[in-house]
Amino acid sequence: MKSIRSLYKKLLQYVPDKRIWAYSSMALSAAAVCSYMGAYWFLWQSIVSILVIPAYEKAMYDAIIVVALMILRGILNIASATCSHYLGFRLETNLRKNGLHKLLDASSSFFDHNSSGEIRKVIDDNAAETHKTVAHLIPDNITAVMTPVLMFVLMFAIDYRLGILLILTTVIGVLQYRKMSGGTEFLSGYSAALQKMSAATVEYIRGMQIIKIFGVTVQYYKTLIDSIKEYKQYVYQYSLSCKNPYVGFQVLFNVFYAFAVPAAVVLISYGEPAMLILAKIVFFAVFSGAVFTSFTSIMFTGQDNFGAQNTLNQLDELTASMDQAKLPHGSEENFQNFDIEFRHVDFKYDDTFVLKNFNLTLHQNKTYALIGSSGGGKSTIAKLISGFYPVDGGEILIGGKNIQSYSEKALIQNIAFVFQHSQLLKTSIYENVRIGNSQATRQQIMDALDAANCTSILDKFSQREMTVIGAKGVYLSGGEVQRIAIARAILKNANIIIMDEASAAADPENEYELQQAFQKLMRGKTVIMIAHRLSSIQNVDQILFVQNGKVVEQGTHNELMSYNGRYKDFQDVYCKANQWRLA
């Protein structure tokens, strides 16, 4: 009971102004239960009028009331369900909205740690799950509590001995049901088998290309089949373990009323009025059907409560981690200058430090190229300057002030980045560029497109800049997408530019255009670039060689080449890769 109350409390927090609908739904479903039990009371009256008095006219009058009350119960149920669904739908919408808002506020590191599919599943699918339970549970819980109580009251009012029989049956039934949940050992074995099977299925399907190409179907097929059979064995065993309680439950609720018959015979022999006893027995037989149906649905309600609790907990966990990853922003609007400084910065990915006590100063209006092996920390350094990642220790300063003291707007306006996997919105190319600066004129947007070498892209489509991304027949290569993203960044005209040169690898014919576009973007700015084509950075102001989270070499190209260290090695490898021929 307590857990149900806390569940409701939690859920209703999301729909504070709609509580009245919850109460209405509860009241209506309570009224429905009353009219249902009322119908049985009049049915009892009617049977008494037939057998005991007898007064057929009154009996018929009572029977009509029975029909009327049952119809009334139907109407009340519809009304109650309508209220609870209204609430449930609003709840579902609000859960999604709430999830969305938190999502948009979460820092980028949250997205690095959680797969997009998982996040979506928890927010989106769980919302639907929760509404289902709320919409049904609000009235169902009331029904589940009130029906047995009223049933006992009704039975005791008719005959306390039948009341006791009903209570006994119920208690035994509930105890039987309790046994059905199975041992915990069993459950863990079962869920292990299920997990094994689903892992085998995923692996089988994901690996199908390879499995087929190497002709090893049989082997992987066998692993999967074995896991399917094992799972089957487990569920079957599990269902067998539930068998006796289930069968007992069913038998009990379908025979108990008839066992009153021999007892009734005895009572009559002791002189109780025969017709009254008959009326009670007949009514008990009729009523037993309602008892069975009610108790079956009460069992379901219990399961649903458990499920609702579960989904809500998942959602809470995720929103908590989104909240945790939320970035604080200050109110500082203006930058004194655009020098960037890392001061004793720590940054962890999961539990390993990518940067530890990292220090670095970058000066404004200079171009810095970060190079090094992948996993060495160069992308982390670039990402941290974007201001969308919380650091685990130390601070990052821009213009002498902590990056978190600036307002979100100020950061957005002054920092632009173009990373490897730029994404475009599903709207026109024009709109995609315009988001760089919503105040820009058409001319400025076209100029930005031009500067980023996008003219050749526009030439491909009859609708030119109005071409909608993702529409049928619109194909853009990785390099082309990146060029449009550069146009966007050019339009934004931020003072600090963070860029990742890569992905030119995917379409070589675009690389030169891309390089030119990047060059225009960099002009007169403070630039931090992750360089992949080592031949292109010979003229940058400073090259930083990053390894194991430290800047191990720093200087101009010529300085570093004559130093004869890691940078020189790297250039040599690069040359070697370039000189290699397939043959």
């Binding site: 969305l100 089949i225 038998v251 015979v265 919105l425």
Partner: protein, 574 residues
């Protein structure tokens, strides 16, 4: 007859349909077993109305027997149902696994694979659930209902109708509104899918949303979508809840109606008290059972879509072809046309030959059809017209199991299994000895990183090899191909996602792999294929020119432009 129908309606196997029929009859018996206790009450009423009571021991004995019979029947019903259900759902899963292994590879490149796996799992699970609870129960009840109806109508048709009509009406309400219900629910589902997509988008675009301050805009857009969805949901709910609740209400009416009508008949002497009481008890029992069955009916309604999805996989068109033994490995592309969708042709009358023992490289601007060409050669897809031939045999006549004995494909994206490094490489040739596996691994340049791992070749590499880096994964896949030693090798941009350092590491392995083979390659590094025996220049789905590097520099403007661009990029300085 029932078996054939069930088989078709629920996409069952032969034994599954047989099992279901068995389970249906067991449910019929289940419902029948509820009758004796009612008879006990009825007999008691009969005796009493005739002035005596009968002996308690007789009733007690009768009830004990009835209880025992009911226990046995429900026990049997339970065992049969779960036995058959789990057997059948295991069969269904096995069937699907087998069917999946027969599907053309294109099927797997068209679907998001983890999603596909999850959908199949979920679909089978809910079919399993419906079978364990709903299907046999509903049909078993329907048969029981027919038998009881006949009896009730024969004994007293007027009272019979009082009992039966409301029950029938309640089922009809559901059936008649099924279409409407499913339609509105589907409309809402479509909207939900849009919302899911928006969520996915918002998550994937989180960088852009932040760096361009688009938060408010996205929020407003999605809020509106969510509100729209809520409206649709309302509509769907109204068409769904109202019929179900009306159905439920109708199903409990027989008791009252039978009593009302029966009493007026009793007053006019048309029925006896005994008959009236009997019908009232019967009405109560039938409506109780119907209440449960109504819930199952809705579950069955929504099974349709899932069964259809499973059916789609089961009935998917398979690629034909026979077993074949090949000895000549020239790959000849003759006038091939191909399109993914009807109106946009991706390959247009392309022809060229990749000779045995030579390296043939495909080059061209992105979107020109190179990758599609490789997919046709490896029979992921079949050409619309024209032929791809290996040693003179049309590959459409070669069963893929046979074909892949002769072809190795190395993809940009490497797929690994959650087992040891040894076993992952051994996939290339299952009967290879450990020494052979290690030899291939050394040639592919794996030895260096494998020897650093805690259990060297016995190290388990995690789901899809997550513990390894991109370059390490690619080297494993090359080792696999070296071990397989197939005469035809297809390399699709295998280094495009690697950084330079890693690229160098796989280059030596590659040259080992291709010795003396028919090699067809796409590479982003134009320079690396300069020495290829033949370079095929593609443009907008056609073959523009063919030949060696020097020849093409003179003959093909596309090729010349590409080389020029690549040189410019190489000399570029920021």
């Amino acid at each position: 007859m029932m078996k054939t129908y069930l088989k078709k309606a629920f996409q069952l196997s032969d034994s599954g349909a047989k099992g279901l029929v068995k389970s249906i009859w067991s449910f019929f018996l289940y419902y029948v077993s509820f009758v004796p206790p009612m008879i006990c009450v009825f007999l008691f009423a009969d005796r009493l109305l005739h002035g005596n009571t009968g002996k308690p021991v007789v009733y007690l004995l009768f009830m004990l027997v009835a209880t025992l019979v009911m226990y046995l029947v429900i026990n049997y019903n339970y065992k049969t149902t779960y036995d058959e259900t789990y057997q059948e759902s295991a069969n269904l899963r096995i069937d699907l696994a087998e069917q999946l292994s027969k599907l053309p590879l294109s099927y797997f490149s068209k679907h998001n694979l983890s999603d596909l796996a999850q959908t199949i799992m979920a679909d089978v699970a809910s079919i399993e659930h419906a079978f364990a609870n709903a299907v046999a129960n509903t049909i078993g009840f329907a048969i029981y209902f027919l038998v009881i109806s006949a009896a009730l109508l024969i004994m007293n048709w007027k009272l019979g109708l009082c009992v039966l009509l409301p029950v029938l009406a309640s089922a009809s309400v559901l059936f008649l509104t099924k279409k409407l219900q499913v339609r509105d629910v589907n409309k809402h589902y479509d909207k939900l899918r849009d919302i899911s997509e928006s969520f996915q988008n918002a998550i994937e675009l989180n960088q852009e949303i932040k760096s361009y301050g688009l938060k408010e805009k996205v929020e407003a857009q999605m809020d509106q979508q969510l509100d729209e969805s809520e409206n649709l949901q309302w509509k769907a709910q109204i068409t769904q809840t109202i019929p179900v609740t009306i159905g439920q209400t109708l199903s409990i009416l027989p008791i009252g109606i039978t009593a009302t009508v029966g009493l007026s008949m009793l007053a006019s002497g048309q029925v006896s008290i005994l008959i009236l009481l009997g019908y009232i008890i019967m009405a109560a029992k039938l409506s109780g059972a119907m209440g449960g069955v109504l819930l199952y009916l809705t579950e069955i309604f929504y099974l349709d879509a899932r069964i259809a999805r499973i059916g789609e996989i089961k009935n998917h068109e398979l690629q034909g072809g026979e077993k074949a033994v090949l000895s000549d490995f020239n790959v000849e592309i003759k006038d091939v046309c191909f399109s993914y969708q009807k109106d946009t042709q991706v390959i247009r009358h392309a022809s060229f030959t990749a000779e045995q023992g030579q390296v043939t490289a495909l080059v061209g601007p992105s979107g020109c059809g190179k990758t599609t060409m490789l997919k046709l050669i490896s029979r992921l897809y079949d050409a619309d017209s024209g032929t791809v031939q290996i040693g003179g045999t049309d590959i459409r006549e070669i069963h893929t199991d046979s074909l892949f004995k002769y072809v190795s494909i190395v993809f940009q994206e490497v797929i690994l299994f959650n087992t040891s490094i040894m076993e992952n490489i051994r996939l290339g040739r299952l009967d290879a000895s450990d020494e052979e596996v290690i030899r291939a691994a050394k040639l592919a340049g794996c030895n260096e990183f494998v020897s650093r791992l805690p259990d060297t070749y016995q190290t388990i590499i995690g789901e899809n090899g997550t513990k390894l880096s991109g370059g390490e994964r690619q080297r494993l896949s090359i080792a696999r191909a070296i071990l397989k030693d197939a005469p035809i090798i297809i390399l699709d941009e295998i280094a495009a996602s690697l950084d330079v350092e890693t690229e160098v590491q796989i280059q030596t392995g590659l040259n080992h792999l291709i010795q003396g083979k028919t090699v067809i390659v796409i590479s982003h590094r134009l320079k690396s294929i300069e020495n290829a025996d033949k370079i095929v220049v593609m443009k907008a789905g056609t073959v523009e020119a063919c030949g060696k590097h020097a020849h093409l520099l003179k003959q093909s403007s596309t090729y010349r432009k590409m080389i020029e661009k690549s040189n410019l990029a190489e000399k570029f300085n920021y």
